[in-house]
């Protein structure tokens, strides 16, 4: 948006011969207030958003323990991190988690969103119900799910038994632990995504559906040729956000399984956390942090380029 003052700048700057000092003063009085108002946010961003990113690049090449002077060690941290036998396991787990979470976290909210938008009555109740898990504090969620997952008395095995199916070990078995975390995480987060889909769905013009109907297109055809294409931008951006979010998974395994059983839920981000806060090897944490950061950055760039998202994002 261009304010009134911006438009005045044109003719003013055309005036001939002005001493340099007065141009500077003019510029300052023109921009001064705007810059002054940007200052607080600029300071907060510089200290808490931009500085950490830059600091990470230094940290990765140092041996650092809080309270002691930092020591430069070149690429040693990277060598030690890449040589860590846990890393391949953590990478595999992280990718599996992301893959599953994206697959389930894509289908469930999309189906939920489309279904609930179709309802003529009770829509707001259902919207409330699906958003509810997003309100529960993370730790409360874990306390609750540890109880639901309990193989002997938990709700999940009870439901399975009710349908005549054998119960599962859930978090206690290396085979099912990671999938269990994906399940929980989907339950906790699908509401936001579904509500976002619902918002885009309600923006689709009714006339499109009417025209298609007159042309004789059935319900499925309308979904395939009108609904899904109209949702495309939303789907693309949400998938990217989910991708970035799930690749950094850490809190769930950290609190619920401690990375176990047998490292089945150890993730890259959890390794970073452990380097720093369990082993006090902040340099290694920095090195692995950089690798994850750069990887995700490249991945997003490729994604944005490949999906032609970029003009859509910011006006």
């Amino acid at each position: 948006m261009i304010s009134v003052k911006d438009q005045q700048l044109g003719p003013m700057s055309l005036q001939p011969v002005q001493p340099f000092g007065s141009i500077l003063r003019k510029k300052l009085s023109h921009y001064g207030m705007g810059l002054l108002f940007l200052l607080p946010a600029f300071a907060f961003y510089a200290i808490f958003q931009w500085a950490p990113i830059i600091y990470n690049f230094f940290l990765a090449f140092q041996n650092f323990i809080p309270g002691l002077p930092a020591e430069w060690v070149g690429l040693a941290n990277f060598r030690r991190v890449l040589g860590d036998s846990l890393l391949p396991v953590a990478v595999k787990n992280t990718l599996t988690f992301t893959g599953l979470a994206l697959l389930i976290g894509f289908i469930v909210p999309l189906v939920t969103g489309i279904t609930i938008t179709e309802l003529r009555k009770g829509r707001s109740f259902f919207r409330l119900a699906i958003y509810m898990p997003n309100i529960i504090p993370a730790i409360a969620l874990y306390v609750m799910w540890l109880y639901l997952f309990n193989p002997a008395v938990g709700l999940l095995n009870q439901i399975l038994n009710f349908f005549g199916l054998p119960g599962s070990e859930w978090l206690l078995s290396p085979k099912t632990a990671l999938v269990s975390l994906v399940m929980m995480s989907t339950w906790a987060n699908f509401g936001t995504t579904a509500v976002l889909y619902m918002a885009s769905l309600s923006a689709i013009s009714e006339e499109l559906y009417e025209a298609a109907e007159i042309d004789g297109a059935g319900v499925w055809k309308r979904i395939r040729h009108i609904t899904l294409p109209a949702l495309r931008p939303t789907i693309l951006i949400l998938l990217l956000m989910q991708l970035i979010f799930t690749m950094q998974v850490m809190q769930e395994p950290m609190v619920m399984t401690g990375g176990g059983p047998n490292n089945a839920t150890m993730t890259v981000m959890y390794m970073i956390y452990n380097y720093a806060f369990v082993y006090a090897e902040f340099g290694k944490a920095g090195a692995l942090g950089i690798l994850l950061f750069v990887f995700l950055l490249l991945l997003s760039l490729v994604y944005v380029k490949g999906s032609h998202l970029v003009e859509k994002e910011v006006r």
Binding site: T117, M198, V219
Partner: protein, 289 residues
Amino acid sequence: MERGVISTFDRKRPSVRLSYAFCYLVAIAIAVSTLYPLLWVFLGSLKEAKEIFYVPPTFLPRTFLWENYLRAWQAYSIPRVFQNTLVIYFGFVVVRLISLSTAAYALSHLNVPGRRGVYLLFLATLMLPAFAYLIPSYLIIFHLGLLDSFWAICLPAGADSYSLLLLKNYFDGIPGEIFESARIDGASEWVVLRKIVLPLSKPIIAVLGIFAFIHVWRDFVWQRIVLPSASKWTVSIALWYHSLGNQGAVLPQNVQLAAMLISTLPPMLIFLIFQRYIIEGVSFTGIKG
């Protein structure tokens, strides 16, 4: 909205009617899957400690032990951790509002050199993997000497691109003429922002306030690493410590569940009261994206 994919005319056809009924079935199934676990946990929280481990589990508690809530209230030091979390929330919102409303106002209605570039610079962090620089963020707090202080949570709140986006978009919708006359009367920009723009922006400030509350109440890892002393603990940390973290001394399951529900109550109430704002707030960014 009058119609979705399915029209009123469609619904008269039996085959479509069936799939419309199926939609309801799916919606009900989903609602049950989100609400039933909460009921189950609530019933569990009223059981005796040993009744929870009966095989097969009981549905209704044999005796309703409301005293579990009293035990949880004391064991988790609920009054203190609620107070800490609320104090943090207050600072969090004030810092965020001062920092971002001034910035959004400047980007919206004041002259800023390279406006678009500056705005993009701020928004860039929206797409960055924030967790990946958790460790350097922690070390910055350490170097600033803010460890074990509420400021470690409140000050970083001043930099949040999602809130900036919401505020700037809202301010963009306020026509400049509204404050032009105030400016002519000699009001400073600060007064214009405080006396005209912010009062006009109550809905968006409410959205920010509600989201900040839910965030502060549910966040864990950051609070855990910057607030080591027990006297400063928030709801999340206390809940974690007494239920999951401190392996030796975890409390009985029924008390854990009671504490879990007590801690869920404030955000739940906020959500039920302000649900319209929340859904709108979520939806708003969706349409932007």
